[in-house]
């Protein structure tokens, strides 16, 4: 018996969600009195994994797996599950993780609990807490099968340092052409900017900013904070900002540590997508704006006055804490 974590990497580098998944896997393994095995595919440097409790690393390196292929990756996971006799498989909730996990579950005849936010409340019956109803509630789900797949919601468990002696082993999976039916032909990716999915901090602007010409201060604020920029739906509908910045129920989900909403009213459909951010800040001229009910910190004020001051204060703060 063991717990298997798939540690996702991109261009050889681990994503932060990989470390969170291992931290979580370590906790589940402790509950089950067993070990954590971590699978990496085409990752360069696996030494960081021992910081989070990885007892054993299975390293797969294969050019055929260079670009993500859900079916092929799922098949590799299955081979490692069999080899390591794993019962619980943990996969993150990145776009690729969400693509992969249901396939893994069917391949293993396993029950799958997606959007899991906490360590099992009980291991027999095996019960986990999941997000449901667009973050308006949680659902406790029992997984009844012998093998169990857990999809871990981003930023729900956090990183837990746990220095461990790690053993490493290479593994060459058998790859079948049939698993490469869907081929990636090209990738179109913004470089050099923090993506909403990866960001710890997201700075988001709404219709209160009046027009695209006023986004300079939003970008500057994001830069000072090392944050990604986002926007409300009308802002992208109006063409002020690109569509991939639209967050909310019908846009991208945000689960950052800090979400700063500027000139956003806080409509239910907006909140539904950003609710799982840990700390929410609102800057709005209208004290009655619904966002104040959802936020942890707020400033009632004009963004055009508040934001430049905030940028100044943050720069001072950074200079002091550098």
């Amino acid at each position: 018996m063991s717990v298997l974590v798939f540690a996702e990497s991109s261009e050889g580098k681990f994503k932060k969600v990989a470390f969170e998944a291992i931290s979580y896997g370590k906790k589940v393994a402790e509950q089950l009195n067993t070990n954590v095995v971590v699978l990496t595919i085409n990752a360069d440097n696996t030494s960081e994994l021992s910081n989070y409790g990885a007892e054993k690393v299975i390293k797969v390196t294969d050019d055929k797996l260079k670009s993500f292929s859900a079916k092929a990756y799922a098949n590799v996971i299955k081979q490692v599950v069999e080899k390591e006799n794993a019962d619980v498989i943990i996969i993150d909730s990145s776009v690729n993780g969400l693509y992969l996990a249901p396939i893994v579950a069917v391949n293993l005849d396993a029950g799958y609990a997606s959007n899991t936010v906490a360590a099992p409340s009980s291991t027999s019956p095996f019960t986990v807490k999941r997000k449901a109803f667009s973050n308006k509630a949680f659902n406790n789900t029992e997984i009844k099968t012998a093998k169990k797949v857990i999809g871990l919601a981003k930023n729900s468990f956090g990183l837990v340092e746990n220095n461990t002696n790690t053993t490493e082993e290479s593994f060459s999976p058998a790859l079948r052409d049939a698993n490469f039916g869907v081929k990636a032909t090209s990738v179109d990716k913004a470089t050099g900017t923090v993506t909403i999915a990866d960001a710890d901090i997201v700075v988001s602007g709404g219709r209160g900013l009046k027009g695209p010409e006023n986004w300079g201060m939003i970008e500057e604020l994001a830069e000072v904070l090392g944050a990604a920029t986002a926007c409300s739906k009308p802002v992208s509908d109006l063409g002020w900002r690109p569509h991939d910045e639209h967050v909310g129920q019908t846009g991208k989900p945000v689960a950052s540590n800090l979400y700063i909403a500027i000139g956003i009213s806080g409509a239910i459909q907006h909140l539904a997508g950003i609710n799982s951010s840990k700390v929410k800040v609102v800057i709005n001229t209208d004290p009655e704006a619904p966002f104040f009910k959802a936020a942890d910190y707020g400033i009632v004020g004009d963004a055009f006055e508040v934001v430049p001051q905030l940028i100044e204060k943050l720069k001072e703060f950074k200079a002091q804490n550098a």
């Binding site: 249901p102 449901a132 667009s134 039916g181 993506t195 901090i201 539904a272 959802a294």
Partner: protein, 248 residues
């Protein structure tokens, strides 16, 4: 081309979420149910294939009789016929098994589903369905074109998109992008009249042991009141974010 569109029947986004029976059941009292928003995008794309490429479009739901108005709405938007697998949709794997049975019986070339349902936000059914059928699968799909049996599509990835190619049969988990929001179809009067006469077949479920079960629901802990910072004292916010919230 034969297209199957999987429709999930979900509470409208603005619904109040409450639970009954000791927090084990979703309280449907006063809740308005709609076609899952992601499914509206793929259904509209199916209409486009029907009109431009002569495809037939069947919609399917796994659910009890209360979901029929949602299927009728899909018929009013323009689907040719509907199938309801008559059983409670309790678990993603179970639903995928039922849909796989429908898919096999109808030998569909293209199966369109949404990337997730906004009720349980499972994001399970499309990938599971594709795996059970051993069809190609594209998740978070944001564009799809079909030429004969060749498919070109794209999917969302972190920070951008990826172009893909594959052949039919294919299952997608789709979202905004497969059509634009302004192009979403809504039923018109004529569609609603015609939908009444279109076939809605009720089929019995196949047996399959549930792999998961919902034991209870919880509401998030009540949030404390917002802490207001004076607009003339913005530095205090920086302080709070650093020392209290510890996020910067």
């Amino acid at each position: 081309m034969k297209i199957l569109v999987c429709i999930s029947h979900v509470p409208d986004t603005t619904s109040k979420i409450n639970f009954t029976d000791n927090d084990t059941k979703f309280d449907t009292n006063g809740v308005q149910f709609v076609i899952n928003p992601y499914d509206e995008f793929v259904l509209t794309r199916a209409m486009w294939f029907k009109e431009k490429q002569g495809a037939s479009v069947t919609v399917v739901n796994v659910g009890n009789a209360t979901t029929e108005p949602t299927l009728r709405k899909a018929l009013a938007i323009g689907a040719d016929d509907a199938i309801r697998v008559s059983t409670e949709a309790t678990d993603g794997f179970f639903v995928a098994k039922q849909l796989a049975e429908v898919a096999k019986n109808g030998s569909y070339d293209l199966i369109l589903a949404g990337k997730e349902s906004i009720d349980y936000n499972g994001g399970m059914v499309p990938g599971m369905l594709a795996s059970i059928l051993n069809y190609n699968f594209i998740n978070a799909c944001i564009s799809i074109e079909v030429d004969g049996t060749n498919v070109t599509a794209s999917r969302e990835i972190d920070g951008g998109k990826e172009s893909l190619s594959c052949s039919l049969p294919l299952v997608i988990g789709g979202q905004k992008g497969v059509v634009e929001e302004k192009d979403l179809r809504i039923p018109n009067m004529r569609g609603i009249m015609m939908a009444r006469k279109k076939p809605l077949t009720v089929v019995e479920p196949v047996s399959f042991d549930a792999t998961t079960s919902s034991t209870s629901f919880e509401k998030p802990a009540a949030k404390g009141a917002v802490k207001l910072v004076d607009a003339n004292n913005v530095g205090e916010l920086v302080d709070l974010l650093h020392n209290e919230a510890k996020v910067i």
